[in-house]
Symmetry: C2
Subunit: 173 residues, 2 copies
Amino acid sequence: MPDITVLRLGHRPERDKRITTHVALTARAFGANRVVVSTKDPGLEESVRDVVKRFGGDFTISTGINWRRYLQEYPGMVVHLTMYGLPVDEVAPQVRDGEVLVVVGAEKVPPEVYQRADLNVAVGNQPHSEVAALAILLDRIFQGRALYKEFPGGRMRVLPCERGKNVVELSEQ
Amino acid sequence: MPDITVLRLGHRPERDKRITTHVALTARAFGANRVVVSTKDPGLEESVRDVVKRFGGDFTISTGINWRRYLQEYPGMVVHLTMYGLPVDEVAPQVRDGEVLVVVGAEKVPPEVYQRADLNVAVGNQPHSEVAALAILLDRIFQGRALYKEFPGGRMRVLPCERGKNVVELSEQ
């Protein structure tokens, strides 16, 4: 199983808070291990850690990282999500087990990211959403099994339900 | 092929503009035919129509619709995306050809939506993103072919590319 880090570039706390929260929670729900965000944003960290505390698993978030250095020194495969890249269904099978960095940009991504990436991957060549693109990429990397990951240790568990809500609150030990 | 309308509930123009734009563009890119949004938002309409004009296809957007009436009078199957629902991989095969309404809520969704829905569908039972959930649902409904939809008539076309950007600007007739 690959160990997946999502690197979020170009996050602007005022404008992008909700989108980056969606990126982080999608990363977690679809089997990534951690998210690192270029801009410092304690509020974002807190929202994501709160979900981990309530719903379990060991997903982590760091913000305010030097993304250029992180990218240059990253020891594993770098996969950059861009609408200009190669089709995800062709490229996802090339993602190997081991460490994988998935780069998710906001508006403009510097050319050096395209250069550094081992794979520039497009989830369709239409403009849509980095959140949707990340979900589909991780779904394909895990061959449709990303959604079946277990999240041990949370205080809450949602059980599938035909109509309404079925939430189990687990007692704290 | 189903004819898919996405109904976006609870959109607050200040807070949700970017998320709802992502919902609309994801709907378009993954094969839905139109989006209808409960709150009036001319700026949102304009952003989405601008993408359609540039990138093609016949996706439409309406905002400021009476969602209760729309939902009650909808003649086809109603599929409600919720983290409390039944697993998407079990339920998506039950989506038939014909008219399908996919309901995408924001924070709190009134109980009547769960009641009216023919299917309450969860894309995993973890909190993440309605944008990610919509992408995966449409991907499953179209059995992995949603991304291969053609969008005739646009002024721009992005061609897959290993590194960098390859955009063809088509001359206007």
